[in-house]
């Protein structure tokens, strides 16, 4: 203990051995892993878990993964992992991990990139590739609410088949409860007339914002640094105040 440490304000996020109970291929590059927790925790949409893998020689690798599922008491949590060929953790999950395996994790972690039903709305969600994952937890939680908040989601993906949770998102929009989704495909033509075949820009954001009943009170942006910079700058250019824009960038 150093003098600068503070007394824990809440129980520690303890390491536990979660069990993989299901694996679902979501896109050609992204698989979902459903993890049952021996010590269940309450999390907020947008939070993440740290996952720790240990080799027989004691070498350890740790990574953070956002939770994709909505909070649901006792249910397995879902994380969705993008395969990075040169990585050491995502290839393990994609090529080695199997149902029944135990994975060490702790959580929930993170207290900035979070939104729960009843928080500020309308909500604008801007996701790039697997950056959709924490936004998906928010969208799913919102759909489970008695009265969903108005929410619009713009997902940038290379192609139609690489648009994560595509059909589930379209299904949300078909419920006519205030949820709208648009896709921005960067390497393919859109399948729906109101989607886009270019990177996110301010003009596109103005279209998407117009799907909401009022100006967004909060904007969540998640993806690569290039995507987050482009989308956050486009949101500023579309007139959204800086202090309403929260970003999460993955890297490393």
């Amino acid at each position: 203990m150093t003098p600068t440490e503070v007394a824990p304000a809440k129980p520690a996020a303890r390491w536990q051995n979660a069990r993989i109970v299901d694996i679902v291929e979501r896109t050609p590059h992204i698989k979902s892993f459903f993890l049952a927790l021996p010590e269940p925790f309450v999390f907020r949409p947008g939070q993440h878990v740290d996952v720790r893998l240990t080799a027989p020689d004691g070498y350890r690798a740790m990574r953070s993964y956002s939770i994709a599922s909505a909070p649901s008491p006792g249910a397995a949590i879902e994380i969705a992992i993008d395969l990075l060929k040169t990585g050491e953790v995502s290839p393990f999950f994609h090529e080695v991990a199997a149902i029944g395996d135990e994975i060490e994790l702790r959580g929930p972690l993170g207290g900035h990139f979070v939104w729960s039903p009843g928080d500020a709305s309308p909500v604008l969600l801007l996701g790039g590739g697997s950056g959709l994952v924490p936004l998906m937890s928010m969208a799913r939680a919102n759909q489970q609410a008695a009265t969903p908040s108005p929410m619009a989601l713009l997902l940038s993906a290379r192609t139609w088949s690489e648009a994560l949770y595509r059909d589930e998102l379209i299904g949300f929009a078909e419920r006519n409860n205030g949820f709208a989704v648009r896709f921005a495909l960067t390497r393919a033509n859109p399948q729906r007339s109101h989607d886009y075949a270019r990177r996110v820009d301010a003009e596109m954001l103005r279209d998407v914002i117009a799907l909401l009943p009022a100006a967004p009170q909060i904007v969540f942006v998640c993806g690569s640094n290039a995507f987050a910079n482009g989308a956050a700058d486009a949101a500023l250019a579309a007139g959204i105040p800086r202090d309403r824009i929260r970003t999460e960038r993955y890297g490393g």
Partner: protein
């Protein structure tokens, strides 16, 4: 009962050493010698091995420069909580405060006229990437204080940024050549994504302590949580002790 308790205590100590040494076989053997328990129990006690995971191997060849739970990267990942601010150097200023009271303020040219120092350091981000031998140039906090005629006014410091970000660091961790206001990276002006025009550099702590878009230091009597510290991250953030979150 008594023996079980001793075994557990030995296990805990060995686990801690194990995390740093990677000598699994040796430690397991030592544990067996001390405890005399069957090997299955001893293994279960020392560590949970992930089935089928081999990794890239322990961070050999780096002379123990990679802290536990970290991995090396060659690129320079960017992490920040909001849109990237773009601050022109003619709009830039740096203010030193003691408590609420401003003591001294520099504009860009004045600050660049202060003594410049080069530091080549390893950096460690709490999101688990580490980068070795990063080259920075700027003004040591020792030299900032000298220029203001100050001598470590209080035990704690809050670093402040143009975007409203803040982070806390004990004042002693900023002194004796351990920290600087960095103005250049790899011989070039620091890019906006990486915190330019000026960022704090406290390389021996997790990198969120090295505040981007720095616009001042405030000396405080009490250790006051900054942006991430208020959101569950550690008040000190020593990568060698894996002080990632407030309960670590």
């Amino acid at each position: 009962m008594g023996r079980k308790r001793i075994v557990i205590r030995v296990c805990l100590r060995l686990r801690q050493e194990f995390a740093q040494s990677h000598h699994a076989a040796l430690l397991t053997a030592a544990l067996l010698l001390v405890s005399g328990v069957p090997s299955a129990r001893a293994l279960e006690c020392t560590i949970m091995v992930t089935r089928g995971f081999t990794g890239r191997g322990a961070a050999g060849g780096n002379d123990g420069r990679v802290p536990p739970g970290q991995h090396l990267v060659d690129d320079f990942p960017v992490l920040s909580a909001g849109p990237t601010p773009h601050i022109a150097t003619d709009q830039w200023s740096f203010t030193l405060k003691v408590g609420p009271k401003p003591i001294k303020r520099w504009n860009w040219d004045e600050f660049n006229a202060l003594p410049q120092t080069q530091l080549t350091r390893d950096i460690h981000c709490v999101t688990t990437w580490s980068k070795l031998d990063t080259r920075w140039e700027g003004v040591l906090i020792d030299d900032v204080l000298s220029a203001a005629g100050l001598d470590a006014p209080t035990d704690f410091t809050l670093a402040h940024s143009f975007d409203g970000y803040s982070t806390n660091v004990p004042t002693k961790d900023l002194l004796a050549g351990r920290a600087m206001v960095a103005l250049r990276y790899n011989g070039e002006p620091i890019e906006a994504d990486h915190g330019g025009p000026a960022r704090l550099l406290v390389p021996h702590l997790y990198f969120w302590k090295s505040a981007k878009w720095l616009n001042g230091l405030q000396f405080t009597d009490r250790d006051t949580a900054g942006f991430w510290e208020l959101r569950g991250y550690h008040m000190y953030g020593d990568p060698w002790r894996e002080q990632r979150y407030d309960t670590d």
